[in-house]
Amino acid sequence: MKLPAFDYASPASLEEAVALLASRSGSAKIISGGQSLVPMLAFRLAAPELLVDLKRLQGLNRIVIADDGVRLGAKVRWCEIDRDAMLQGAHPLLVEAVRHVAHYQIRNRGTVGGSLAHADPAAEMPGIAITCEAELTIIGPQGQRVDKASDFFTGSLTTSLASDEILTEIKLPPWPAGRRWAFLEFARRRGDFAMAGVALFYELVDDKIADIHIGAIGVGDRPLRLRAVEAVLNGQTLDDRAIEAAAAAVRESVDPPSDIHAPAEYRRALLATLLARALRQSETGR
């Protein structure tokens, strides 16, 4: 499974990188961690003419925790998230979700930006982006733009990125201390893509759920926000009845694909089960 031939460039600036992408009218691709791209090349599922390596670009791997939220540069690697002592407290949902990504060796190379741009419907990072209503900063020939996560993921392995654009940063809204949250996924083996997964958080106002956000991965062609389920839960006390109602609403809300690993009805039921368990887990208030 040798890779197909391509040209390679390692520009020193973002502008140069964008120009290189633009110069090949759609047949150039970014490489950074390479953990998703190189296997695709090995299977010859992609045959770009040019790879533009972000290796030399400075400043894209910062983790910034500030009052207006958490910013991750696109080149931040999973191992860097593991090692950041402040992130665990600053955004525990992000850290927990990232714990599930792939394996040790891949975590040393794979990047946040790579995962977001690759947009696998079962990947954790896109799930967090959708659940938390993240904003993604993108640079292109026309300059910089910001996309909402809900606009960014447009289909399976597809995003709003044009072929000459580069994702540079993701910003997650600020995370108040004491917020209730949970992340739960089910995969066949440790590190595999989730068969289904759920991320959620909410506030408690007068002991009732408020402003709940629920995101699901692995059950559609992109990560999903389960707004119908959120509607069932907002304003409710978190009790067995509410959890039951939420699980039932989940089953109505999703139309998962069937594939060799699981039929649609399994994924549907699995997601409902995971949601119920995640809600119960969130009660312990980490």
Partner: protein, 159 residues
């Protein structure tokens, strides 16, 4: 394209195509065949090498991406006269049979224990779940890595 990096402590250079993986460069151009290819799509871990001290899948890295970096393979973790404590633990616990996946386990375990000499069994299993072995069933590998920890205690960031 020319690429230069440090391999097992020595500066090396190779003439590669952009598409040549680090694994193929190490094996074919640099003649270090201890790093093995069992899948070439980043799942099995047999090709694991250390890059700047971190365990990485060399089949997923382009040789040109290794420019200027520090690469260590299983050969660089070996001595002529004797086995290292990690290797001796593998041998003692019969943690290898056909030996094909073994270099990947040695490099990965070495990286893990160098960073985390106190790693417990669950952590070791978690990390090694990224390396496939078809012969041993993993039980003796875990035992070997657990035993090797004592040799890494207090070693700091040595490679």
């Amino acid at each position: 394209m020319k690429v230069e990096f440090e391999l097992n402590g020595t500066r090396v250079g190779a003439d590669v195509e952009a598409r040549t993986t680090l694994a193929d460069c190490i094996r074919d151009q640099l003649k270090q065949t201890g790093t093995h290819l069992a899948c070439e799509h980043g799942v099995c871990g047999a090709c694991t090498v250390l890059m700047n001290g971190q365990a990485v899948r060399s089949c997923l890295i382009l040789a040109v991406q290794a420019q200027g970096e520090r690469v260590v393979t299983v050969e660089g973790l070996s001595r002529d006269e004797s086995l290292t404590p990690l290797q001796a633990a593998f041998r003692k616990h019969h943690a290898l049979q056909c030996g094909f996946c073994t270099p990947g386990f040695i490099t990965t375990a070495h990286a893990l224990l160098t960073e985390e000499p106190e790693a417990d069994e669950e952590r070791i299993r978690d990390v090694l779940s990224g390396n496939l072995c078809r012969c041993t069933g993993y039980v003796p590998i875990i035992q070997a890595v657990l035993e090797a920890r004592s040799a890494y205690a207090h070693k700091g960031n040595e490679e």
